[in-house]
């Protein structure tokens, strides 16, 4: 990590995005006091993790679902955690119930599938009913139904007013789950903004337009300053103009619009752009 500073706020799902090896897990481990930064500090509710009076009731973390690969059964796994922090034993069943593992409570965790371990890891995080939650790559190993369940759960947890930080290298999933994004690359902060704002800011605004007279519309749009690209399936992809302006131009020129579709970039496109910019910046710094 390199001069990485960010704050995660309650009431929303904050996505922590970066490719493998970007420093997501290291950041989370540092927050939990497992790794010490060479300089700098991490705070949870204004305190270093090691000084929290109620660690598990303050922060719930899922770091590595495989950390639960023991011969212990699921209930015992939560039992020792509950005992260490004086958490009411009733919370164990509540946590298992919330992740849908009540029926597997007495099965050895070693025999769990990766998806079940992820669920148990989430139950571990929820055990102390904490206001702050951190999940490292919780989507890994979940099937479609599991991903849908996780998405609903995370939204619910954020709506309850909790602070939810969720890391993933899967952009498509993150686009569906997160409200706010922290993007890192090579240990540096690339973006810290709301998902919509990030997409808007970094998307190339383009509109696909097809009409009754593409040639006439093209001439009119060029006159208005539009940048036109040919589209493989007919019509034009117009850059630098809003759909409203294109519609009005068509009306003035007596051309009937057949299709008018704004084309926004996916999070993946935005991420690629951000990382490319970061790499360019870095190479310039190195060249100097």
């Amino acid at each position: 990590m390199d001069s990485l500073t960010f704050t995660v706020h309650p009431g929303r799902v904050t996505g922590f995005l970066g490719p493998n090896g970007a420093g997501k897990s290291t950041t989370m481990r540092t927050i939990l006091g497992l790794d010490q930064p060479t300089s700098g500090r991490t705070r949870v509710l204004d305190r270093p993790y090691r000084e929290l009076t109620q660690p598990l009731q303050t922060v719930g973390a899922l770091l590595d679902a495989n950390a639960l690969g023991t011969w212990r059964d699921a209930r015992d796994q939560l039992m020792w955690l509950a005992q260490s922090n004086r958490i009411d034993v009733k919370r164990i069943d509540a946590a298992l119930d919330r992740v849908g593992l009540s029926n597997a409570a007495r099965r050895p965790v070693r025999n769990f599938s990766l998806g079940m371990r992820q669920r148990l890891g989430i139950a571990t995080a929820l055990l102390g009913d904490p206001p702050v939650l951190m999940f490292d790559e919780p989507v890994n190993g979940l099937d479609t139904e599991g991903i849908r369940w996780l998405r609903a759960l995370l939204t619910e947890l954020a709506e309850e007013g909790r602070t939810v930080l969720l890391s993933s290298h899967l952009m498509s999933e993150m686009e569906l789950i997160a409200d706010h994004l922290i993007v890192i690359g090579q240990g540096r902060l690339l973006a810290d903004s709301a998902l919509e704002a990030l997409l808007d800011e970094h998307s190339a605004r383009r509109v696909l337009v097809r009409s009754s007279n593409d040639a006439r519309l093209a001439t009119a749009l060029r006159e208005k300053g539009g940048r036109l690209l040919t589209n493989a399936s007919g019509g034009w992809v117009v850059g630098g103009m809003s759909p409203e302006t294109i519609g009005q131009t068509a009306l003035v020129n007596d051309v009937a619009i057949v299709e008018l579709t704004p084309q926004s970039s996916s999070l993946e496109d935005v991420y690629t752009k951000l990382t490319e910019e970061s790499a360019e910046y870095r190479s310039k710094v190195v060249d100097k």
């Binding site: 497992l34 993790y49 590595d64 023991t70 059964d73 005992q83």
Partner: protein, 259 residues
């Protein structure tokens, strides 16, 4: 959801709760509990087997009854190693430290649970072993000083388990921990034999100070003419000192290192 106060309230995580949680970890892991139970089972098992042999009449029932210690030390040491090293390959240690961020407290809890459970378990198993031997051999052998022998055996087992825990914490690997632990047991006895003749006496003069040589003398109090052995209680004290020093070193490193 918990309402977390930002006041300087005392830490909610208490040593006794962490110790209870560490015992749950041991109790609910079949391999951990299995190695603990097996080490203790060896004592009465060997006692019964030894009682069936032709033992010289000079031997006491206590000595015969505790003949399983040679093996049980190894197993209980392995148990000590496993208590912490088994948490590393699965990264369970991350979860342990997330629950108990005060690392000294976590290590203290592990040490308390390991030594206490080993002392209680060894006292019961040794008493059963000596009792069984006395029951079988009552016509032929005097019972001997059972109470100090059982107390010493229990303390020695606890010290061996603590040494195992320390080695496990230092190396953070089950394989490395076990190999190092067993290598310690071979020093200097096995090592001295392969040294050149002029070095051997020097090595053997240091021998009583080596951890497991000190421990060996516990099981061989009659070998008074063996210069490599210290008197029994002195040996036990030496061995306990080794365990405590290594434990302190392992805690210091455990606090400093990234998990």
């Amino acid at each position: 959801m918990n309402e977390i106060t930002k006041s300087d309230a005392p830490c909610n995580v208490r040593l006794r709760d962490v110790a209870a949680s560490e015992w749950t970890k041991i109790r609910t892991d079949p391999f951990l509990f299995g190695s603990f139970a097996f080490a203790l089972f060896v004592l009465p098992l060997f006692a019964v087997l030894a009682s069936m042999q032709n033992v010289p009449i000079t031997e006491t029932a206590t000595k015969i009854g505790l003949s399983g210690t040679a093996l049980s030390y190894f197993i209980i040491g392995g148990f000590g190693v496993l208590v912490i090293s088994a948490e590393y390959p699965t990264k369970l240690i991350h979860l342990s430290l997330a629950a108990v961020p005060r690392r000294i407290m976590l290590m203290a809890a592990k040490a308390i649970v390991v030594t206490t459970s080993v002392v209680i378990g060894t006292v019961l198993a040794s008493a059963l072993a000596v009792g069984a031997t006395h029951f079988i051999e009552r016509n032929d052998h005097a019972i001997g000083s059972a109470v100090p022998a059982i107390a010493g055996t229990a303390l020695a087992h606890a010290a061996v388990a603590l040494l195992g825990l320390s080695v496990g914490a230092l190396l953070r690997s089950t394989a490395g921990g076990l190999v190092s632990f067993f290598t310690l047991t071979l020093l200097p006895g096995g090592f001295a034999q392969v040294l050149p003749d002029n070095v051997q006496p020097w090595m053997l003069s240091l021998a009583p100070a080596f951890p497991f040589q000190a421990l060996r003398s516990l099981g061989a109090p009659t070998a008074a003419n063996d210069l490599t052995l210290l008197p029994v209680w002195q040996s036990l004290a030496t061995f306990c000192a080794y365990s405590v020093i290594l434990f302190i070193a392992s805690v210091a490193l455990f606090v400093k290192r990234d998990a």
